[in-house]
């Protein structure tokens, strides 16, 4: 990126080549139409330039075949663009299983990241190369947007609910990230650097925790006890509330007969407004925690609940199916 006039951003994630191919396709299609129309206009200008002051043009009113052609051909092309774009987008909106989950919290005007082991960073993000990364995005105030041009990914960070984004870095290096949704006075300086590292370097960097960081799983476990969650959510499934062992990523059968996937948004909602989705076979007893937990506390609790994933699913855990066992 050191040249004075760059015209092409670096490609550093799995999405970059996909987005760029799409871009190339659209540029080619657009160039074709632009050149064709411009050429037609210039040709007509030269050829049919008015000769005498009182000349008039040929009274041609239209041609149905031509009209149909230039309705149908662009339509087919447009559907091609839509279809291809849709494939990339659907892939982007559905994170694969087994991602490395990192929390990013946006606030005016900084980014706070938290690695799975609790290591925190500000306006920096360290990720290992070649691994599927999922960012769980939350905002403490207004709408922000996390944007990494070299990865060709961005996602709005909306207060009041989680958005997620995922990508797989493919090249080590340092890349800009920006806030891309206008968020107030210092919007333009609310950015930083993503550092893509070799997995071994990443592991070393992770362990170099400053000591002030608290592992969110441990913090979450503590909260789980403090807020008395553990009195009902017994791990063997005999409590008044469903066991949370292995719940994350699995399918939950609800009292109204529907099924939901226990993702981050579900866990968040179930903590804040438990009555929204009641697990089949249980009473709506749990108090809501809306307004009583900070974003970071919610994240810690979620991290703890996720850490229970490796625990066996209790046989009596009504309504819960382990991940992969649809």
């Amino acid at each position: 990126m050191q040249s004075q006039l760059p015209i092409y951003p670096e490609q550093a994630s799995n999405f970059a080549p996909q987005v760029d191919s799409l871009m190339t396709f659209l540029i080619l299609a657009s160039a074709f139409f632009t050149i064709a129309i411009t050429a037609a206009i210039i040709f007509c200008f030269l050829k049919y330039h008015r000769k005498g002051t009182n000349d008039i043009g040929a009274p041609i009113h239209g041609d149905m075949r031509l009209e149909l052609t230039w309705i149908i051909v662009p339509f087919i092309l447009a559907m091609g663009m839509f279809g291809w774009g849709a494939v990339v987008y659907v892939d982007y909106r559905h994170a694969p299983q087994d991602t490395l989950d990192i929390y990013m919290v946006g606030k005016q005007w900084m980014w706070k990241g938290q690695q799975p082991n609790g290591r925190r960073e500000i306006n920096e993000l360290h990720v290992p190369v070649g691994r599927d990364i999922k960012l769980i995005l939350a905002s403490e105030d207004v709408i922000h947007d996390f944007f990494v041009p070299a990865f060709r990914v961005k996602m709005d960070v909306v207060p009041g609910h989680y958005n997620t984004m995922w990508f797989r870095p493919t090249r080590t290096g340092r890349y800009h990230f920006f806030c891309s949704q206008y968020c107030g006075t210092n919007h333009a300086v609310m950015g930083g650097w993503v550092t893509v590292m070799e997995p071994s370097d990443y592991a070393a960097w992770l362990s170099g925790s400053t000591g002030e960081d608290v592992n969110p799983v441990i913090a979450g476990e503590k909260l789980f006890a403090e807020k008395a969650c553990s009195t009902c959510h017994l791990s063997n499934g005999t409590g008044r509330a469903p066991s949370l062992n292995g719940v994350y990523g699995g399918s939950v059968h609800l009292a109204d007969g529907s099924n939901v996937t226990a993702d981050d948004a579900y866990i968040r909602e179930s903590i804040l407004v438990p009555s929204a989705k009641i697990v089949a076979g249980y009473q709506p007893l749990m108090p809501a925690f809306q307004g009583q937990l900070t974003e970071e506390q919610i994240m810690s609790l979620a991290a703890y609940i996720k850490s229970l994933q490796s625990q066996p699913v209790p046989a009596t855990g009504a309504g819960v199916t382990a991940p992969g066992k649809k």
Partner: protein
């Protein structure tokens, strides 16, 4: 030049016309004459265009260096917000409909005035009242929310004068509604004998389509901004997540109007181009019904696409797929128009007069603007280019390259009718070419900036983006000259221009059959239309040579 249209030097201004029928400031401020109201709007929109333009100039100067050297971040945010608000709500939306539309609509359909002349005047006062609120907001602390007013930034976190601005835009909305209502009723009930629906000029069709959006879209932005304003003033929670509201709902409501609003800006410009091209190619427009129908199609389908502004807000994947698909559908009628305009040139008798230069400039710029719209509607690509300078470049190609080129083209085309005077042709051509070059230099580089990843609304930027930003600023200075020139020579021509005569080009529309400038009553006798639109062949009254008759079969015309 040999191609200039016949302008016999002997034309005289008519003795009495709408401009000199009555005198005094009262006769203007209390007028119900649609032609004078058009002048009032012309003053209003020119003022707001200048205000918005000054802000735009400051933005571009500020961005000359990566750290930005002109203003503080806070001021910069206010500049782009006020630029957007002034340009979108107070220039682009009323420009063509309220200036050219007001002047031309009754003339084009052979009516003495619009259906509700008093409402027409009221709508101007409503516009000015809304404008005053917004100017008050600009003057007392400014506005730094972005013209999109996204909550909760606008309703809770901003420290600027949001409330008066929101109220101003709310009020201004009723001006749009009244104009749209007036136009639809006028087109339905005031047509002269013989003026059937399919003899209407395409500009009228475009105004009709625009009015549909005015009528059915504007009330939604009005209520939305009202709610956002109430939320700010009384600390309510409709869209504030901290109080349980939903900021995404605001975006849905906002874009339900604000996306169709883009078509409010571009449809009338398309109408203008559809008038100019057949006139200067001296032949019927190619595919009249397709161009007319595509205007209506754009207005209707345009209401189904709004959430393509929200692909990355966390809207559901299914909704995103639907909105992307629908967005591609709205591209088809736009494409149909471009193809038909181009086909109209075929076997024409084309001249290079200023309005034609603007019309062709419009096609070129709209083509790029429209095609880059396909990039943004493309779900996969939008992930990368959403909220970057690519978007800025795209919508400026549509709004400035499209709408303003159309507006200026229309002003040049009808200036002889509006004032009865001719503007200096050579200077006007220079201005048109300057604008085209300046525009491309300003906004072309921004496509690349966007693809490189420069987010919008940034008061500073990484140094690698500087070259392109400097190019853009250089283009903006050329663009500024291109805008100042017409303001200067139009003003000059009102006093010193040569008399134009009733039909200087000559063109086929009904508005050219009356004097220039027209009398207050528009027509001395109610006209009866017995010709098809854009028909040069059967119009001996235009004084043009008919092609060798009977037509030689070798021509192969239909």
């Amino acid at each position: 030049m040999s191609t200039t249209p016949p302008k016999s030097p002997g034309h005289q201004m008519p003795e009495e016309h709408y401009l000199n029928a009555t005198y005094g400031i009262r006769s203007w401020l209390l007028t119900t004459d649609h032609k004078r109201i058009a002048w009032l709007y012309l003053m209003g929109v020119t003022f707001f265009f200048s205000v918005g333009g000054i802000f735009a100039g400051m933005i571009r100067v500020h961005l000359l260096t990566p750290t930005g050297f002109l203003v503080t971040p806070e001021t910069y945010n206010k500049l782009f917000t006020m630029h957007g608000v002034a340009m979108v709500f107070f220039f682009l939306i009323p420009s063509i409909p309220a200036v050219l539309g007001n002047f031309l609509l009754p003339l084009m359909i052979g009516a003495k005035d619009v259906a509700f002349p008093k409402l027409n005047l009221l709508s101007w006062y409503v516009y000015i009242t809304g404008g005053c609120f917004v100017l008050y907001s600009f003057a007392t602390g400014g506005l730094d929310t972005g013209w999109t007013f996204y909550t909760p930034l606008s309703s809770v976190y901003s420290n600027s004068a949001v409330a008066p601005a929101v109220i101003g835009i709310f009020i201004n909305g009723f001006s749009s509604i009244l104009t749209g209502l007036n136009f639809v009723v006028t087109i339905h009930t005031m047509r002269a004998p013989g003026m059937t629906w399919f003899r209407l000029p395409l500009f009228v069709w475009a105004q009709y389509a625009t009015s549909i959006i005015f009528i059915l879209g504007t009330p939604v932005i009005a209520i939305t901004l009202l709610l956002a304003g109430l939320e700010r003033i009384f600390h309510l929670g409709f869209f504030n997540p901290a109080l349980g509201g939903d900021p995404i709902l605001f975006q849905h409501l906002f874009w339900f109007y604000s996306h169709p609003a883009v078509y409010i800006m571009i449809l009338p410009a398309m109408g203008v181009v559809s008038e100019i091209i057949p006139t200067f190619a001296r032949k019927p427009i190619f595919g009249y019904t397709f161009i007319a129908a595509s205007s209506i199609a754009i207005a209707v389908i345009g209401f189904f696409v709004w959430a393509h502004h929200m692909f990355l807000t966390g809207e559901s994947t299914y909704a995103a797929l639907a909105f992307s698909l629908l967005s591609y559908l709205v591209a088809i009628p736009s494409a149909v128009k471009v193809f038909n305009w181009t086909a109209t040139l075929y076997k024409g008798s084309i001249s290079y007069d200023t309005p034609m230069l603007y019309a062709l400039g419009f096609i070129g710029l709209f083509l790029i603007g429209g095609l880059t719209g396909l990039f943004l509607a493309c779900l996969g690509l939008d992930i990368h280019i959403h909220d970057t300078y690519f978007v800025i470049a795209h919508f400026h190609y549509i709004m400035v390259g499209g709408a303003i080129m159309g507006y200026l083209g229309g002003l040049h085309f009808w200036w002889p009718k509006i004032t009865g005077k001719l503007y200096p042709e050579f200077l006007a051509r220079v201005a048109a070419v300057t604008l085209f070059i300046g525009f491309n230099l300003t906004f072309g580089p921004q496509f690349i900036l966007g693809f490189l990843g420069m987010p919008r609304r940034y008061h500073n930027y990484p140094p690698e983006f500087q070259v392109l930003n400097v190019l853009s600023t250089a283009g903006a200075s050329i663009l500024a000259i291109g805008y100042l020139l017409p303001i200067a020579y139009f003003t000059w021509s009102v006093r010193y221009g040569r008399a134009a005569g009733p039909n200087p080009w000559p063109a086929t529309g009904l508005e050219w059959t009356t004097a220039s400038p027209p009398p207050t009553e528009n027509f001395d006798v109610t006209p009866v239309v017995d010709w098809e639109p854009y028909d040069y062949k059967n119009r001996p009254d235009l004084g043009l040579a008919a092609p060798v008759a009977p037509l030689a079969p070798a021509h192969g015309d239909d």
